[in-house]
């Protein structure tokens, strides 16, 4: 599927539902669940993925994974809106669900949100709010998130620019490269990504990490044991102890949590002594 960046081109309706605000919503990404919760509309959720971990949706039915949603489970919940963050792996099942909605006696909306950049993340609440019939709440949340990003950007201005290696996975080593949204987040907190090249989420050779010689390593691979960082012992910054381990993976959740994670990242970087 061709890309349709959300902020620039708006969402793509794969299927249209009947008029009126939807009451039974299925989200196919934890970040979308977060959006619905942040809009105060959590009572409309009837199904989430099996990687959703927000306590509010603890008891809700699961409709499969982030990359392998189960169409049958989705239809079984009789949704009137399905929200999806565009992902190549899930494309066929989601398209099948949309096709079945279009031919169904009671069609429901299937909305695809192509979220790649920080601008896309900031546009998401507005789009989700509109889809749920709560445009004011959505626009407000988008504005609040944007304001918070700008506040952090302003605070970071004038601080020394440090070159940061943002580690997303330790085994294998996966880092945030150019074109990924964490790359933008690093610039917002006044840093520069130590990783060059063209790939957004490269599996990174250890040698390159050493040669890049970052000033600071940010370990965002919070689901892996912290000792995993020992693999990076050859990186001078790791030897110096210039390492920040994030407390949660909020930063990598392209929704309201990302903003929280951004604040955490900024504070942590400021606490680190400069080289």
């Amino acid at each position: 599927m061709a890309r349709h960046p959300l902020a620039a081109e708006g969402p793509v309706w794969l299927a249209r539902g009947s008029a009126g605000p939807p009451r039974r919503v299925v989200t196919l990404a934890p970040s979308l669940t977060d959006e619905v919760l942040a809009l105060g509309l959590g009572d409309r959720l009837v199904g989430v993925t099996n990687v959703d971990d927000a306590p509010e949706v603890h008891g809700l039915p699961r409709v499969g994974g982030f990359t392998d949603p189960n169409p049958e489970a989705i239809l079984g919940l009789r949704p009137d809106l399905v929200l999806w963050v565009t992902d190549g792996g899930a494309e066929e099942p989601v398209r099948r669900v949309a096709e079945l909605s279009r031919t169904s006696s009671r069609p429901f909306g299937v909305l695809a949100l192509d979220v790649v950049s920080v601008a896309d993340v900031l546009a998401t609440p507005r789009v989700v709010g509109e889809a749920l019939g709560a445009p004011e709440a959505g626009a407000r949340l988008s504005r609040e998130m944007t304001d918070e990003v700008e506040r952090i950007r302003a605070r970071a201005r004038g601080l020394p620019r440090r070159r940061v290696l943002l580690v997303v996975g330790l085994d294998p080593l996966v880092v945030a490269g150019p074109g990924s949204f964490p790359d933008e987040l690093l610039r917002i907190v006044g840093c520069q990504n130590a990783v060059g090249g063209k790939r957004p989420w490269p599996v990174y050779p250890l040698e390159k990490a050493v040669a890049d010689d970052p000033d600071l390593v940010v370990n965002a691979a919070v689901r892996e044991p912290p000792e995993g960082l020992d693999r990076l012992a050859a990186v001078p910054a790791v030897r110096r102890g210039a390492v920040v381990r994030l407390r949660s993976d909020d930063l990598l959740r392209p929704g309201p949590r990302m903003i929280r994670g951004l604040g955490e990242l900024f504070d942590a970087i400021q606490r680190e002594p400069k080289r």
């Binding site: 599927m1 061709a2 890309r3 099996n50 699961r62 499969g64 994974g65 990359t67 392998d68 189960n70 169409p71 049958e72 489970a73 239809l75 079984g76 009789r78 565009t86 992902d87 190549g88 792996g89 899930a90 494309e91 066929e92 099942p93 398209r95 099948r96 096709e99 079945l100 031919t103 169904s104 006696s105 009671r106 957004p200 989420w201 599996v203």
Partner: protein
């Protein structure tokens, strides 16, 4: 009671077709979501959408893939004169996966220069053609390198297949690294063999290719009987061995390529099914090929239903290829041990 060959054929095919119908019915009735079949047939949603829009197409794709792999397996066993020959083990499926992946990677590369052209090349039909081409190339390679001193040595061909599989897997891993993230997950999803969510046009095109090639193998089944006698004997009975072999070759490659394009890497169907069917109907390919094709369809439909139900408590499902490998791996080893016993002879 001794039946005429025609009566045996009719009986076997009726039984096989009934089994396919039963398997499809079972597959439509079973799934994670409790549904009412009565409501589904009255057209009440979501029951109708689940049974007719999700389970039925999925059963149809599983049936097509199973039919293609079992028919190709039977044909390859005749060509190689060895019961261990099978599209997956021989590397034919691996070649198809490699061919399809190459087209996907080329599409991603072309998409960098010209977005429209990349999208056209990355659509389902070119990827399927790549898979068929890859399957044919792998078959040629395996049969060419499996010749030692001018004679086809089954064990050598099988070894070439195993090595080619490892090679193809390595190249696919490299290709995956070259793809943008969205395409990477598409490739993984395809190769894992999650069947049945493809758009109807893709299923129809793949189905047509499979029915044509499996049909061709059925028409060629009398020649397969001659080919199993050995090249010299077949030639002395008036068969143009080279030509017959080439046609079987391409029919089996096309069937495998289309099956991989639809269902990803599903192994061992072409091993398990022909072996069991041979026990049922005997070694005559005029009976064996059509019966294997139909029982292969039923087998994979049921294996897919099993995959869907097996991990239900965990809220997930393995790809059907995992189920067939779980059954087929030990089965292959058992066949290998059995055919190695001197009293069983070289051929099982």
């Amino acid at each position: 009671m001794i039946l005429s060959p025609r009566a045996r054929l009719t009986l076997a095919l009726t039984a096989a077709a009934a089994t396919v119908a039963l398997a499809v019915a079972v597959s439509c009735a079973l799934g994670p979501q409790p549904v009412s079949l009565a409501a589904a047939f009255r057209g009440v949603d979501p029951d109708a959408a689940i049974v007719l829009g999700i389970r039925l197409p999925r059963a149809v794709v599983a049936a097509l893939v199973g039919c293609a792999l079992a028919a190709a397996g039977t044909a390859l066993q005749a060509l190689l004169r060895n019961a261990l020959a099978e599209p997956f083990v021989l590397g034919v499926s691996g070649g198809a996966a490699l061919g399809g992946s190459l087209v996907l990677a080329a599409a991603a590369g072309l998409g960098q220069v010209a977005t429209g052209a990349g999208a056209v090349l990355g659509a389902a039909p070119p990827v399927a053609l790549g898979a068929v081409g890859g399957a044919a190339a792998a078959t040629l390679l395996v049969f060419a390198l499996g010749r030692l001193g001018g004679r086809l040595v089954p064990e050598a061909a099988l070894l070439v297949g195993v090595v080619f599989n490892a090679f193809a897997a390595g190249v696919i891993t490299l290709l995956r690294l070259l793809l943008p993230p969205a395409q990477q997950s598409r490739l993984l999803y395809w190769l894992a063999g999650a069947v049945g969510y493809q758009p109807p046009g893709t299923i129809a095109a793949g189905g047509a290719l499979i029915l044509l090639s499996a049909g061709a193998l059925v028409l060629l089944s009398a020649r397969l009987n001659l080919l199993t006698l050995g090249d010299e004997e077949a030639a002395s009975l008036g068969l143009d061995v080279r030509r017959a072999r080439t046609v079987v070759f391409f029919a089996a490659s096309t069937a495998t390529g289309a099956a991989v394009a639809l269902g990803g890497l599903v192994g061992f169907v072409g091993l398990i099914v022909p072996h069991l069917v041979r026990r049922l109907v005997g070694p005559d390919h005029r009976l064996l090929v059509p019966a294997s094709a139909l029982f292969g369809a039923a087998f994979l439909v049921l294996a897919d239903a099993l995959a869907r139900l097996l991990f239900l408590p965990l809220g997930t499902e393995p790809p059907v290829g995992a189920v067939t490998a779980f059954l087929g791996g030990p089965f292959f080893l058992w066949l290998l041990r059995r055919s190695a016993r001197p009293e069983a002879g070289g051929r099982a």
